[in-house]
Symmetry: C2
Subunit: 851 residues, 2 copies
């Protein structure tokens, strides 16, 4: 934002490289034994001494196994924390018990050429990306004790020669490693302990380099780099003058990235830094104090380790008991959830305990899910439901939004909106009007969710209608419920606008609106049959409803070889356009016979895609004509963009795809990037003016406590800007406010030919297909997708059924490659299932209005 | 939470003292000129060198004034950063221009006894809290230039002798200073530059001690201590190895407390730390690099300052331009707000631009508001509307919740709820059931706001009613809207349950529900007249509605000397109780004449206080009997605790005041401590069971995308725990789940006698009074409170009108003393206004359903 006139221009600016996962994540890590990351508030605070102390405490009672991992090591081979641990543990243990038996190994996996040359001389050359696959390994066995001994395994994954930060060493030594490669190798190392739990205790330690936010090789901060694993943490604090501040700040950098710190340990410098630290932590996290570390480099530290033994024993105890608590909780959670949650849209009787998914965290588009198969582990799954169609951020944006939420909550908390102004609300309104409201909207009304945004939109539209049609004569006179006017909405069959009564009343009757669900429901609409369009056998085809004199339709008007043709405005001149127009005009004729004067007071549509109705694409030509016909009749037009808005369909506002503008538009879900609730109803100045008057009674008397709440607005601001900035969103087509095609066109086409597939739709972040089903299995109660979805869940893709419609939804920044991999997995599973099996053991996943 | 078996027990644990404001805040600070805080990532990074560099750049072009303030100085008098600046600036400027004219002064205000003795010897003894009012001052004038010179004013506010952290020095030297005293003196020092802007540029610098999170004298971290001013900041970073991490962490500690950092400046150590820092900051915050600082303590730094001149000139430029941008924005905000916001419940025509309040931030219960009077300034106002009745946190809780929101967003973002479980949702449900749901509720259904929680509650209640009354025979058969059953709610006149259509339909007709506002409204209720109770002339009196055979009521049944008597269960045996019972039975007789079978399918009440209706207290005896009568008739009972819940009325659940339990209960607002939207509908197992069946169709098919969103749930968990823990909430009555009396009983009684006052209610965090008005001024359109409220706003209390009802709402942790001061101000204003003036220039503040 701020570009000061720096006189001494910095020689290099490097914009953060995009470190988000370009491949469908297959990361997972075991929970078969405790694994901890050792972080430090700064360099030189004794992180490796602490690792060695914990390691010694852990292997002291055989049989036990300790895996020590140093992913990034600089200053190698002179500095090698793994070598220090490898050398020191036998010394410590031997001193305590000369008969102690220990098998130890130390291995370095990848070494930069300069570091390798120092270690083994000039003849080393075998390299990849500037690294040699080094395979250096030393092993020893100490002690001659009876029975099984303990085992110490030390691994250095990447090493550089210069004793500087890894990002600098990488640059200077020409040896870079990407974040994902580090994580894949780290994942392998974490598996070392698996399977040996039966033979004694196992503990793995991952020691980071430098401070918590020191850059790794790629330039990613280490606290960001390791975030996908979100391992529990021990923080080595600073006992020196100024160390309270550094320790607290490092702790905060970890917590604001979602890490759990189970203990802080620091060296005593006589300042009792632990006292204010404990006060800050409200005694919720233990702070342990180590005796002063000898300054003499020749000191072998044996006496220091003797003095520190009780501290490390305590620390080990804390780490183990925290692990046990975590495991206990993970296992009890599904049962407790089943006992006390009341899930929306869920028949609880049909969700057995083993079907409950325990979500430990998320990182960008991926869930981290607890599973048990042989042993406990945490695995990543792509959240292809986009967490109820809201999810947008990649890992980098998630962390940024988290920080901004913290900032905003600390700066504003929640402040009252009416008659007030504060930066996040103002900026959010500005961004809405400059973006999705550009060219038509002039006012923003905030609320909490899609359903409230719709209720507000309806109130706005009705007033506008009454004003435009001179039905408001004397306000107080009409201020009763005894009007002889009946207002209806014009809406499309199969549409969905929310679950509060006003939003329900704007929908056509369905099992979801029936007496059983809401006895007060009365469908207050003129419900039209829209023509749907989808790809079948490689061709986009319109299904024209019977009512539209189907025989008149010319074939070339209803099938298209490309999606672009479907959206082409030249279709306005087609025969089909006039058929649509005629149909709409007939339906909008005033109805007679009612004891009241009945008017169509508003049009409400989901532009292009009816989401909850089954990911049905409505012919955009039909919607455009419908809007035009309503505007001609002074019927205010509402676009329900709760689902379609903010890049869901590849454009910021789906109205862009229709080439026409509403009077009122509703946004929610992706508005905040999919992080927290916020909704906005945008309106034209004409709509607003119909509420302006001398009396408060003519104002819009609707509001929610958290209207324009600061945290929601700030999150929306950051997310809106992120998605439309090509520096942060690699999917933006340069120079256009448009996402590149995310779903591989060839593969989509191929899928549309598959014998099991009825139709396919892909647009923006959405891919959906409808499975062919037997006639008696179609529609609402269909179960066909379930078997397929369960298979894809095993494949690392979290999906939910929408009857016989299967959909995948990614974020606006998700890479094309991830989408491709998901489609490939889907195609593979489709092929495996020669005939779709109806899964009778899982029969509750029927078609959902919100899936 | 975690109490490890530490072998070496820490000798002292001090729990954080309660640093929240015990007095009504009068803090304000000027915006007449730029004021910056200079923070540092650690000690010894050259913070004072930077201050002096900025100071020199600033005063270099006369006439200008530089105010340098060091609030906390240790190591005094040997170390004195103020003295360094005082000495160094003349040197630097004289070197550049021998004719430079500068008047400089250096003053130390309060000095600990040991420090004072070093400075002026043993004869010093005049002390307060271990400090001497020192008044040490030195002055000088340099240069003989023509015209007005520049001015340098250096102030040290508190000084200690030992060169350690202020909290330790305070302890060792027996010289403590509370946070509020520091702020009050700092506020004075910030005013030094005011009024002299006309004579040239003015800049104030506040230099902190140590790192950003180093403790001050009281033990409060400095980043928390100075938070009420939230001054814009410059961060001195660390250019050394490991310094990237420390700088980023310090930056994050500042931002997660709501500070704005306008620039980072660091010393060059040849590691190019600025490159990864700029990458992290995405170039949004400039990072400036200073030449390496000479290590020789005898170096006079003159050459270094020469080399650094361009950097400090840039830095000064950044600081000034950022200030100008801030001022520009503050001034344009009201206009922009008026142009693009659509405020809820607001007749825009009646809000002139000058009435728009610009809220710059909040700190605990106080807003920081931008005002202009002679010059621009930011002043604190107590948020007595509790930001639309949601606000709870004090400053410490706000910061804690902000951090937890950051953590939760980073860990989970938003994850899908149905069939899933994650820690925040589970813990929140557990806390709800163990707290407000204890003894009756077994299930939690999450949604987004009070209105949706009510819509869900109604759906639950109706189903339960149908099931209990054998009206559900064959589900699919009833799954239409053609039922011949009509369901109504039983509700109280004047109640309010939300603005979505279902919630509106459960309310009695009013201007807010009329055709003009929502043409679809039909009051679907049996609306009863409740007996209201309030204090008049020192006595609590019940106004028994006419319909209840008023002549039968015994006087002693309707007036009470204390509120406790009102809530006493012995009243169940009174004559009045049977009158209530008879009235209710009559009203619940089935109505006839309808073409459908009409049933009362649910009771819905706001327990004890009807908030939006005008802070009306309903006789708790009446509500208890109403609940009993409904339960006898198998009519499910809904408590709408959206307003009353979570300590608003001094207890966690207002149901405790009624001594009876509902079948369904709704919570929102204070559930998250008043930070972000979240709502919960709690239900008994019987209610839940009426939705359990073999078919998904019998499940509750209602949901919102952000159901049980992680950030909301985690915020609720932290807030619920904070308010009911006596370690964090000083207002808890020991051993009871009850807030102490917050509103001074004597003063409340006195106010009830005031001739202008009709009635008074005080309960929990709520104080309300109704003003006496002429008959034609009463009720909905009343304006009487406005003049009073405007006066109280000038007195630092932010209030909104509710017709002729004036209310103040505090948080559950607000101190009794703050409440007392507010009541005193109110009483004073009441007295001043002999006759309540109706303010015709501000006539839009009529009675609001939500004020």
């Amino acid at each position: 934002m701020f570009h000061p006139p720096l006189l001494f221009t910095l020689s290099r600016h490097f914009l953060r490289r995009h470190h988000h996962h370009r491949r469908l994540s297959t990361l997972s890590h075991t929970l078969s034994h405790p694994i901890y990351t050792i972080w430090s508030a700064n360099t030189g605070l004794g992180k490796t001494l602490v690792s060695a102390g914990i390691a010694a405490a852990s292997v002291a009672s055989p049989p036990s196994k300790l895996v020590y991992i140093k992913p990034l090591q600089t200053g190698y081979p002179l500095d090698s924390d793994a070598a220090f641990v490898y050398r020191k543990i036998p010394q410590i243990l031997h001193r305590r018990n000369p008969n102690f038996t220990l098998t130890a190994s130390n291995q370095t996996l990848n070494v930069s050429i300069p570091a390798a040359k120092v270690k083994i001389g000039d003849n080393f050359s075998d390299s990849r990306n500037g690294f040699g696959e080094f395979g250096f390994c030393e092993e020893r066995k100490v002690g001659e004790g009876v029975g099984e001994g303990s085992e110490l395994i030390c691994k250095t994954i990447y090493a550089w020669n210069e004793a500087i930060s890894p990002h600098l060493a990488s640059e200077r030594e020409g040896a870079f490693v990407g974040d994902e490669e580090v994580l894949v190798l780290l994942k392998k190392c974490l598996e070392i302990g698996v399977g040996s739990e039966g033979q004694g205790s196992v503990l793995s330690l991952v020691e980071t380099a430098g401070g918590v936010a020191s850059p790794g090789s790629s330039g990613s901060l280490q606290c960001d780099l390791y975030r996908p694993f979100r391992l529990p943490s021990v923080l080595v604090g600073d006992g020196k003058l100024g160390g309270i501040s550094g320790t607290i700040s490092a702790y905060e950098s970890l917590t604001i990235r979602g890490y759990d710190v189970v203990a802080i340990v620091l060296e005593d410098h006589g300042l009792e830094n632990e006292v204010p630290l404990l006060s800050y932590l409200r005694n919720r996290v233990p702070v342990l104090v180590l005796p002063s570390i000898p300054k003499d480099p020749l000191d072998n530290l044996m006496e220091w380790y003797d003095e520190s033994q009780t501290v490390f024993d305590s620390l080990k105890g804390i780490m183990l008991s925290s692990y046990e608590k975590q495991m206990y909780r993970l296992h009890e959670m599904p049962k407790k959830a089943q006992e006390i949650f009341w899930w929306p849209f869920t028949q609880h009787k049909l969700v057995p305990q083993e079907k409950v998914t325990v979500i430990d965290s998320r990182c960008g588009e991926n869930f981290a899910v607890h599973k048990v198969k042989d042993h406990d582990y945490i695995t990543q799954m792509f959240d292809a439901c986009a967490s109820w169609w809201t999810q947008g951020p990649n890992a980098a944006l998630q962390i940024k939004l988290a920080r901004e939420m913290g900032y905003t909550a600390a700066r504003y908390g929640h402040v009252m909106f009416p008659e007030n102004v504060y930066e996040p609300a103002l900026q959010c309104a500005e961004l809405l009007l400059q973006g999705v409201g550009k060219g038509w909207a002039s006012r923003v009304f905030f609320s909490d969710n899609g359903s409230t945004a719709i209720e507000i939109a309806l109130k706005m539209a009705f007033r506008k209608f009454l004003a435009d049609n001179k039905l408001l004569m004397d306000l107080p006179h009409y201020n009763t419920d005894e009007s002889n006017i009946e207002l209806k909405v014009v809406a499309l069959n199969g549409s969905y606008h929310g679950d509060t009564l006003g939003a329900m009343d704007a929908q056509a009757p369905s099992p979801y609106t029936g007496f059983l669900q809401q006895p007060w429901y009365t469908g207050r609409g003129v419900f039209l049959d829209p023509p749907f369009i989808s790809m079948c056998d490689g061709v986009w085809k319109i299904a024209v409803p019977k009512k539209m004199h189907y025989e008149d339709v010319i074939l070339e008007d209803t099938s298209f070889n490309s999606r672009d043709q479907v959206f082409n405005r030249s279709r306005d001149d087609s025969k089909l356009a006039s058929i649509y127009s005629t149909y709409i005009s007939q339906e909008l004729l005033p109805s007679s016979g009612s004891r009241k004067f009945s008017y169509a007071g508003a049009l409400i549509i989901e532009p292009v895609i009816q989401g909850a109705g089954g990911m049905l694409m409505v012919d955009p030509l039909f919607q455009r004509i419908l809007v035009k016909e309503c505007k001609n009749r002074k019927i205010p037009v509402i676009f329900d963009e709760v689902f379609t808005g903010y890049w869901r369909l590849g454009v910021e506002s789906a109205a862009e795809l229709l080439f026409c503008q509403p009077d009122i538009s509703c946004f929610a879900k992706l508005l905040t990037g999919g992080m927290i609730p916020l909704a906005a109803t945008l309106a034209t100045n004409d709509v607003f003016e119909s509420f302006v008057g001398d009396s408060k009674l003519s104002a819009l008397l609707h509001g929610h406590s958290y209207s324009a709440h600061a945290v929601g607005c700030a999150t929306a601001c950051n997310s809106i800007k992120w998605f439309k900035d090509s520096q942060t969103n690699p999917n933006l087509v340069p120079g256009q406010n448009l996402l590149r095609e995310l779903w591989d066109a060839e593969l989509v086409r191929k899928i549309s030919f598959h014998p099991a597939v009825q139709r396919v739709v892909s647009l923006g972040t959405l891919f959906a297909l409808e499975l062919k089903v037997e006639d008696n299995d179609a529609g609402y109660a269909s179960l066909s997708g379930t078997a397929l979805l369960l298979k894809l869940r095993e494949d690392g893709i979290y999906m939910r059924p929408l009857g016989n419609v299967v959909y995948m939804m990614c974020g606006p920044c998700t890479s094309h490659r991830v989408c491709l991999q998901m489609l490939e997995k889907l195609y593979k599973q489709l092929d495996k299932q020669e005939k779709i099996q109806t899964a009778h053991d899982y029969d509750h996943d029927q078609r959902l209005p919100i899936a």
